[in-house]
Symmetry: C3
Subunit: 206 residues, 3 copies
């Protein structure tokens, strides 16, 4: 089951990257770079921070092939990917669930504390998009008022870590964690759940 | 003494991050990310480059708790942090001193050359702000004409490395190095010391 | 032969960085940072991803001295570097060839798959410029319509990996790979070879 979700989610992320790069009028090189950044950025940062080597896409290079194939075909068949865009959020939500929980699982395997494990879940789930936004010279979309995204990672990873700490069997805790992320994400997209607006601090004196 | 300076400095950096994120109208997710980037960016890059694992905030996860607590309370009590802003540069200067010298110390412990150790001091001291500026889509403020910041790191790390090479006791050399950074930083803020303007190169021919 | 190309190429990259930073009106700190980013960014990312330590410029710190010397002298003698600019693309092309093939060689030494080795060649050759562009708040120039750059890396690394897989002697395969990169890059600059324009995808529905 997991490999299927993983491949589908990586493909969805790569398609987002292709659309992102194409809207910036990047050439094929830029489109490939952004597709790789969206699909692999979060997991790569997690593996570097946790010192897990080989990095996941170096070990499983079929994932790199998939991203490359999507980037190249997306550059030549842009309409196909643009037509898929309205449904991409569904495999993306599944991937957000899977990657967030895997981030927390790997962190605990590496012996980090519980809070750091939750952060690793969030990093794995959302940093790819942040890196791509930064390269594209835009403010990261997950930092702005929009349906919950990184928050879903946080709550799902929190659920997993809490259940794991309570002694719940790891695969059950993972399934519950993934479900929490996916359910909240679907609700957020469907009913436009956002974080409450924060009050602005005053401008600096002087 | 050092743990107290460290916690105070991390807190000051996190508060800068909160103010930075809030001025960009980021939501709570963005504010947390920027607070983490400012507080942990430089040290994380140093640990990755030197292959020091676990990364400092993964090992000492109370620092991650502090940043998270400041980011969350800052999002809800923005006025409190805005009121603290005028004095934040003082713990920030102490932190700049401590982190710059620690960067050089760790590098020498890892067996790098002396010049690389000085660079690691500068990276540790100033890269957090650079990373946060890049994420916020602004030109890095430490690269622009403003009171000396990275230069203080450089001169302090240089002092430490020189004293260490001369055989001065390590903790004395560290104390002197931290003092050099803090003293120059205080002078720079107080009397607006800047690097001399450089002459602009001609535009590229053709 | 290789050390000479390496030093020349690092020097050319550092000069590009100095020009890049100076045009953004950065001070000496910013100019040094950008020079280091252009010269060392790609190789550093490669070493981090492949877990090769010490990082190449930490091990060979004469390279760091060279970049620093160029950044400092460039800040004070900007006309000299501006006058060299029209010919910088020649050592840059040699460096692109050398670094791209070395990236692929190191990857294969680390046991990666062949496709990942090609990607490492591209990352080593082009990520320095991408990182510098991102710090400078510009869209990466290699992602936009301009003479082939990352594509030269890709084709050269592909040649090396293919010849290596066919059992060709490693140093012969490297020499051919470097020649492929340099020849295509020279042709691209001379006759303005670009990737074909891609068709834009439709705007997102709704």
């Amino acid at each position: 089951m997991y490999p299927v979700i993983e491949v589908t989610a990586v493909a969805a992320l790569a398609m987002y990257g292709v659309l992102r790069g194409a809207r910036k009028d990047f050439d094929l090189v830029g489109i490939c770079y952004i597709a790789f950044a969206v699909a692999f950025g979060g997991g790569t940062l997690r593996d570097l921070l946790l010192d897990r080597h080989p990095i996941f896409w170096i070990e499983n290079d079929h994932l790199a092939w998939i991203v490359m194939a999507i980037a190249v075909s997306g550059a030549f068949l842009p309409k196909l990917i643009a037509r898929l865009e309205p449904i991409l959020w569904i495999p993306d939500a599944l991937g957000l669930g899977l990657f967030s929980i895997l981030g927390a699982v790997y962190a605990i395997d590496c012996g980090t504390g519980r809070f750091v494990a939750i952060l690793m879940g969030v990093i794995t789930g959302s940093c790819g998009g942040v890196i791509a936004d930064v390269i594209c010279n835009d403010l990261p979309s997950v930092f702005q008022r929009s349906p919950l995204y990184a928050t879903c990672s946080f709550l799902g990873a929190l659920s997993y870590v809490a259940l794991h700490a309570l002694g719940v069997d790891s695969s059950a805790a993972m399934a519950i964690g993934v479900t929490v992320v996916v359910a909240i994400r679907i609700g957020a997209v469907r009913w436009n759940w956002q974080l409450p607006p924060h009050t602005r601090p005053g401008e600096p004196p002087g």
